[in-house]
Assembly symmetry: C2
Homo-oligomer: 658 residues x 2
């Protein structure tokens, strides 16, 4: 690097000035972190980070994750100063306003160069683990010439104190992700006050216990920061660099205190800071020489990215890597149609977790992008296929991750892999433990990440393990998260269709809620009806009085109920609703045809009833379970909780007044 | 202890036999852990644990938490063998059946002696941290004569690998909970296979980094187990004892493998195990001498509990401790009525997070049982009051816990404190981060634990922090968890009423969803209307055509909408619905009066609309937000997302056909 070390100080001060001025203008935000970590970030960007501001989507760029997302002005400053098209200075001036891509926390969908959405503490670092996994996996497949980059994280005490940090660093240490470097903003301050109010941990010792290399440095001394990062890069293990910093560094009267964390400095302190830093430029103005230094630094990435282009063009695998990074799946349908045709003939009675495995056998054989795993429930989630051999420290080319008992870490790593690109991740746990990773599912949705959650044991139908393991509210409450598709397929055909739909969804995650228990085939055609979310599975024989709407394991029951009703001359449709979100997206005519106004609509789902009124109306009937489950064999429980023909038919007749 | 060490082996084998036979009879369950930890448990119960089977509710008993809850046959065996009234041998014979209290996982509400419900991994140990906190807190208040017990945990690799473990041990280490001992079943096996498939961590080193003392022992050598536990007890820090065990110990062909974790051994292996152990008794029969040893051991607790009774009777504070342990609050209303009367006069415009603090100032001053805290958002959640001084390693008598950035650990610790008894815990975080502790909220509900969650920043009304921090689906999805009260109060009066109701609920948790932004007083009376969950706040002036149903910050808007409608001659009721669960519990006549069939019902809540159809009907109107939020000032967001009189009135008129 050619930048004079003496010029790093003013470059860092540009970050400090932009951060304090933008927070002041917005009258909200977090100046403390960007000001405290300005020196570290300047060293990182000037000496280590591989990036080309002209090409934020260059696949071999280093990934930089601001895990401490509240310090968003740090990354907005860096992107602007190094010459990315966005954010403009006007964007920064409008920090935290509706019209600006400079949101309160960095949002990957608003701003190229922001690799992932951060703010929910701990998840940025955990997503970075996924990015580093993706890099090593693609490197193993496409070689050093095409894939050879690092993943960098800036994290604060909050990110390190959250439980997910344990899961994330355990996974990274186990997989030996040496290209991952975490720069810890060791400022000894949290929102409530000094860190010693709530923690007495020796953090580097914990990282070492997890197989990490650790360094520390003076976070305001560029030479020392450089030394520590060089040592981190040289070590084969993932590295934690403890950067001892002063929060709000530069603000003479407020630095070093929790008061500078999350509030504007105020006009007086900003003036004092300008004075202390010798920063004479007006707000949102950068002195020409400082900007020139930053832009020169940004410009040097062009040569590296052009050289990579040349290598990619010459490489036999360049086009395939490009396809994968684009998010497109291989041409064709991955063998799904043929497989469904066979299923339609075979009419197997299998658990949907098993038919998920069967679908995955087909898809993973034809789509190399699929990388699976489970949070230590491989044999229960049925997530492993013949094509997906284990990923390990010595086998990054594998496609199956033994995530361990780390649901949240798994989900965040999958988000990281999906956002890195080139991979379509899927991973399993029990549906009830979607609670453990719920905010990561939310972040999949918010970030438009294609992640497939394989959530098995989806109701009281799991039986004896009892209420702690029986989802009741989960299916419906996952439907409430915006931009998520929740599939609860009824049989092997619907399961195959759900898989095909899930992996085609390039900008939203899917949850597959799958049964432990065997379910008979209810569909004999390959008409891909799951694509409409809900459809008429059986039309009434007698004059239609009832429409039964069911999902998953209760579709079989709905068919039996319909049969009993028809035997009494009560015409009954059965609607299978494997994906309520896709059904709602159909046109009004289709929806009204499937759920007509002139029939009693009855929902049957082994979960909470709240929410089903949307589909059956206030004069409909909702059959469900609004309490916790119990420990007993599945068939005993279904009877106990009223999921039988004998219990349901009288309720319907009473409602009909028959 | 008088038991001959040579007799410990047969006593442990009784656990092994019961466990393998019960799992075999149920044809499901987990024999591996109880068989592997039988020796450790036998040493613990025979030499260390303070308990009296005749009095499972003795307040000064040691707490034993089987964090690895899947090994439930271990605790069922121990309770039966030591002479608790339940489970009977028939209960054990009916393991995992609907009629038996021996559920798949241990349930505190089914079986006295089970201190908490376990199975969701990691939470048992984290609840034990809360129990140990409760013990020290009550000890500081009531002294050694009345409160002087230990908390013991058996945990497996799953409990230690989960993220919550990091939060729990960090808190325990920081608070120096030396009376907490964790016995780690170090069997090097997880469900997927050997632990080295997914982890390379040095677990004891991590515990030491968190301020714990660690020991290890041969988990099948009673003398070595005794030595290690004695060292743990002697040390002032919380202790981890790594018990090196063989999973399924005793089953000659299956022990030491993951195949013995979660399936019946099978008749053949059971016969081989009987042979190997020299266990000749029939299934569910315990040789008289072995049972006599166990019962003798159980009987010795009577003297200790009688001695404690004598001390309690002689102690001036004995009655007050008994009151607290009973779950009853102090006589009177804690000053709530007087406080509400003042509020009704003052008509303050404050955020409900602020009025929550004001209510807490009153309640914490009069009710010593309340112990508060926050996951590092004290100044934002407004959870600290003058009466609640900090809890620390040198100030256990404090009543405010700086939980650190540990939402899940906080929630589980609160469950542990509530289940220990003597404490009514409350703790705060941002509502959006209820996702981080959601399964602990679920466990509060399942366990009938009185825990109050103070969840502030409850909608897009938090403004600039943006979509990662803005709850959208959270209020409704928390309403879906059975046995939880979700309060979203509209003003200071409703907030005070919600607090009063929450702490009176002895067998269910409450979530208070509170605003960041100021809200005007909408109620001028002290009629305690929140108790009915929903009520008519304003009756229509003109002939009623519309009923607006709103919660929290949207009640103010509903009043404004009603005013605009009335100005056009459209009579409009306004219903405030601070707690939908309590409203649903009212009789049909009341509900029909509040939500009449002959009016257009319109819900207004700044959250997802799915679910509101239950209250407004399929011909109603739901005003909400079904996408993620955005980063901007609150008032800009409310306008952007259609929460204005100008946006809502035309929708209502269109629906009315006016």
């Amino acid at each position: 690097m050619s930048i004079d070390p003496a010029r790093l100080g003013p470059m860092a001060n540009a970050i400090r000035a932009l951060s304090m001025d933008a927070v002041q203008a917005a009258n909200s935000g977090h100046p403390g972190m960007p000001m405290g970590m300005a020196d570290v970030a300047t060293v990182l960007y000037s000496r280590f980070l591989k990036f080309d501001p002209a090409r934020p989507d260059w696949s071999d760029r280093d990934r930089f994750v601001l895990s401490a997302g509240h310090g968003s002005m740090l990354i907005y400053s860096l992107l602007h100063l190094t010459g990315y098209a966005q954010p403009t200075m006007d964007d920064i001036r409008n920090f935290r306003q509706l019209t600006s891509p400079c949101a309160g926390h960095p949002e990957n969908f608003l701003l190229p160069g922001v690799e992932c959405t951060t703010g929910p503490l701990g998840q940025g670092l955990a997503m970075a683990v996924g990015m580093a996994m993706a890099e090593r996996h693609l490197n193993a497949t496409y070689g050093d010439a095409l894939v050879d980059h690092r993943t960098w994280v800036i994290a604060g005490d909050g990110c390190l104190m959250e439980g997910i940090n344990h899961e994330a660093i355990g996974l990274a240490g186990h997989l030996g992700l040496g290209r991952l470097v975490v720069l810890w903003d060791d400022n000894r301050i949290t929102i409530d006050g000094d860190t010693d109010l709530s923690t007495s941990e020796d953090i580097p010792a914990r990282y070492r216990a997890a197989g990490w290399h650790t360094e520390d440095c003076d976070g305001h001394d560029p030479a020392d920061i450089t030394r520590a990062i060089e040592a981190a890069v040289a070590d084969g293990r993932p590295s934690l660099v403890a950067c001892r910093t002063v929060i709000g560094k530069g603000a003479p009267n407020k630095q070093g205190s929790h008061n500078v964390h999350g509030s504007p400095l105020g006009a007086e302190e900003i003036a004092a800071t300008r004075e202390a830093l010798g920063w004479t430029a007006a707000p949102f103005e950068i002195p020409a020489d400082v900007l020139a230094d930053w832009r020169a630094l940004g410009a040097k990435g062009a040569a590296a990215s052009a050289a990579w282009d040349a290598r990619a063009a010459a490489d036999a695998q360049g086009a395939e890597l490009a396809r994968r990074m684009s998010g497109d799946l291989p041409a064709g349908d991955g063998g799904v149609a043929e497989y469904i045709a066979k299923l339609s003939a075979d009419k197997l009675k299998v658990a949907t977790r098993k038919s998920s495995e069967m679908a995955l056998e087909v898809l993973t054989a034809s789509i190399p992008d699929l990388v699976g795993g489970s949070a230590d429930l491989t044999g229960s989630n049925n997530t492993k296929t013949k094509s997906t051999t284990p990923v390990g420290k010595d086998s990054y080319g594998g496609r199956y991750v033994y995530y361990g008992i780390r649901e949240f870490g798994m989900a965040a790593a999958m988000n990281g892999m999906a956002l890195h690109g080139g991979i379509v991740p899927y991973g399993g746990t029990f549906l009830v433990f979607s609670d453990y990773c719920r905010n990561a599912i939310r972040l999949s949705a918010l970030q438009h990440a294609r992640v497939v959650y394989v959530m098995t044991h989806d109701s009281i139908g799991l039986g004896e393990d009892g209420p702690t393991h029986q989802p009741v509210e989960h299916v419906m409450s996952l439907r409430m998260i915006p931009n998520v598709l929740v599939f609860r397929p009824a049989d092997a055909v619907e399961t195959a269709e759900a898989w095909a739909l899930a992996i085609r969804e390039t900008s939203r995650p899917s949850v597959l809620a799958l049964s432990r228990q065997n379910l008979p085939a209810v569909r004999a055609d390959g008409a891909f009806k799951t694509a409409k979310g809900g459809y008429r599975l059986k039309a009434a024989d007698a004059a239609r009085k009832v429409v039964l709407v069911a999902t998953g394991s209760e579709v079989e029951l709905a068919l039996d109920v319909a049969k009993a009703l028809e035997a009494e001359g009560i015409g009954s449709d059965v609607v299978s609703m494997p994906c309520a979100e896709l059904f709602v997206e159909q046109d009004a005519g289709y929806r009204a045809d499937v759920l007509p106004v002139d029939a009693l609509k009855v929902s049957i789902e082994a979960g909470v009833t709240l929410g089903w009124e949307r589909f059956v109306g206030s004069d409909g009937l909702t059959i469900g379970i609004d309490s916790f489950g119990a420990s007993a064999p599945a068939e005993v429980l279904f009877k106990h909780f009223g999921f039988t023909v004998e219990a349901i038919v009288p309720k319907i007749k009473a409602k009909l007044g028959i």
